[in-house]
């Protein structure tokens, strides 16, 4: 696809997309957003880049490995489930640290970890689809 506007624009937009996706991810607990939506935005950024520059350049420039994103996503989600076990709670119980409030992130707790897992997994799944279909 040869569109100068898109190919120039997307270069500038990728970082913005990524920041916006992280913003969506972390605000998700209290306002519309969340890991799923964040992951989708993340993957759209690189999908558009891929449409213009191809998979090879995207991989070289951003060092993205979708299958690894999927693996890390699942690992984070499972970890967030395992942590409560050590506190004597059952699997996937949400644990919160009430005293601290981190700016942007809010209160640290295992559901945030879980949401990050969702984010990585969704991003990895969509990108592995895009990369696979493009390369063929």
């Amino acid at each position: 696809m040869n569109s100068t506007i898109l190919s120039m624009g997307i270069k500038l937009l990728v970082p913005l997309f990524v920041i916006f996706s992280l913003f969506l991810l972390f605000r998700g607990h209290n306002a519309p957003g969340g890991g799923f939506v964040g992951g989708l935005v993340f993957s759209i950024a690189f999908s558009l880049y891929t449409l213009n520059y191809g998979v090879k350049r995207t991989k070289e420039k951003y060092k993205i490995r979708p299958l690894k994103l999927i693996a890390w996503g699942l690992l984070m989600a499972v970890l967030s489930g395992l942590i409560p076990l050590f506190a004597g709670e059952s699997f996937l119980t949400g644990l919160w640290h009430d005293e601290i409030t981190i700016p942007v992130l809010g209160k640290p707790g295992t559901p945030i970890l879980f949401d990050i897992g969702v984010y990585l997994l969704v991003a990895g799944t969509i990108l592995s689809l895009i990369f696979t279909l493009w390369e063929e």
Partner: protein, 767 residues
Amino acid sequence: MLTTILIGFLLAVLLPWLYKFFKANTGRFLAVFPAAAFVWFATKHNQIAAGGIVKEAYNWMPGLGVSLDFKLDGLSLLFAFLISGIGAIVLLYAGTYMKAYEKTDRFFVALMIFMASMLGLVLSDNIISLFVFWELTSFSSYFLIGFSHEKEESRGAALKALLITAGGGLALLAGLILLGIGGETNTISELLMRGDQIADSGFLHVAMMLIIVGCFTKSAQFPFHFWLPAAMAAPTPVSAYLHSATMVKAGIYLLARMSPLFNGTGNWNTTLLVVGGITMLMGASTAVIQSDLKKILAYTTVSALGLLTMLLGIGTEIAIQAAVVFILAHALYKGALFLLAGIIDHQTGTRNIRKLGKLFKKMPYTGTAVIIASLSMAGIPPLFGFISKELIYASTIDMVINSPLTTSAFFIAGVLITAAAGILSYKVFFGKRNKLESQPTEAPFSLVAGPLLMAVIAVTLGISSRFISPLLNQASLAVMPENIELQLSLWHGINTELIMSMATIFIGYLTFLFIYLNPKFIASIKVSDKIKTSSVYDRTISTVVEISKRVTIIIQNGNLRIYVFVLIAVFSLLSLWVLKDFSVPSISILWSDFRIYDIVIGLIMIAACFYAVMAKSRLLAIALLGVVGYGVAFIFIMFGAPDLAITQILIETITVVIFVLVLWKLPKFLIFTESFIKFRYFMISIVFGGLMTWIVMIVTQYPLESHLKAYFAENSYLLAKGKNVVNVILVDFRSLDTLGEMVVLGIAAIGIYALVKFNKTGKKEEL
């Protein structure tokens, strides 16, 4: 105990990194874990031997009565010693032995998972956690048998073992759950005391038969035995560890564990006695006509497992004691023999006994270990195997009915096993033929040390059996709480058992001589396929494959249009079936409720749909469907569902991107000219659209109030500290569902990758 098991699993998870660090020393490093576990269990020995019990309990899914309860009693400790002790030896051995293989990190991962699960299995005091560990052992065994996955034989053997043991596992699960319902508890030690209650519930016999099936498949009893000889495709350390010393005894373990509940009821004793006896005789007679060292050992293992089942079936005080003693004796000599067979294979390059001979001078340490282990297998004093054989004879002679029949069955098996021991030791190390191309040398110390140690233990336990008596006594008490005290000794005076034992050895020797002197006759014996149960399995599998091929050709014809048509048609018919009792509700539409932009968006969507149907190119149709999608997103926004709207917009965008990617690969856009096809799609669309409208009309008839809605709205901030209820439900209240969906998504992505990338050219590209 939970810590021990978790460390095992953790090591398996961390192994890829550990392997990078330790490389060839991985086996030696990992051996520290079972060795440490062995020491930990050893510190509990005195307490258990005095009749104590160690218990641990952790909640897992308390709502379902599933907990991680662990109980260490005599029987568990005996198995724990075997698993950790032989485990350490096998890991040390594998560290050297596996150097010839590639990707051994995978091997160690599966082996560590197995070790941890096997420990979990014998320590579990809850039926569900026991079952989970049980299945994990089958699962890791699958990977270990199929380790050389480029060989068709290995893959077939792995699948065979998995289908048989996991299939039996399903029967076991059903049996255990029935017991749990009948006894109203999932704790095994509680269940064992509630025999009357379970009998009153009427589940006792069904549960018993199901559990027996599960145990028989796992412990390779006739007619399920054939997976075990096939499993010899695994690397030798696996055969020694899983398929002789530990995993195949899991079935025996569970039968023994359940004995207090079932012994003396229904068909328990008859089933175990008959099936065990058949397995024992079949295994022993097949073993002596094999020419592959590992196959000989595999069939003698089948025979030994049959003997154990038979002893549990006899179910008298002395038979239970004989079974417990034989578990230890067999694990020691058979584990050692497997490892030694691996050494012979490793050093000479063949396992064919017709080629092997005169190895003793070249491999003196291996030879010594083989001879000691074989003597124990043949039951020759003063080895531990002799003590075990004496007890077995005592228990068969002691039987009230069928004593002569059972005793002679064991006598025949004993003779054949003695002959097999002769073949393994005399033929290989002193026999005449030696057709080896290369000159074998003694194996490195790291290979011989483990089996030599096991042989030495077999001698030590034989001479000073009183050291192990208290533990074995407690183990037999766990199987039969009112048992008499077990006293082991080499010399009982001249009695029937001793005479029988000596006769077995003598006739066994003669049989060995016959086999040794007539190799051509033995080689000419062929077992007809018609009487092999494995051919039933092979036929079943090939029939299933054939049927599924035919079904696939019909269902998966490659035409996407037909798939969608069938999906929608089936969905519509099923919905109509469910909804046939509902009438079309009357709803009154108040036009004043509509806002102007509702109407505008509605009209846009209707127009887009109309043009999408009439579109003359695929790109146009997709763009128009996109318009409909964005329209839906707008509706979500207007009705206060911003989360849904964002998701909808993003999904629409990605769909368009993916469509652009595959667009040029799709076949030419078809415009139907045949009116019949047009009519068919028109009709199905009308039916589906009408049906959906109807469903929406019915749904709106009912109030949307539900206690869940109120609960989530109320507790989302209080319990889960989030103001966005949708997100809180996804990541907290219903996070297990989300986790499941995540796994599905991940598998789907990997599946698509595999489908597209692993084409027949075998070209792979890392993603």
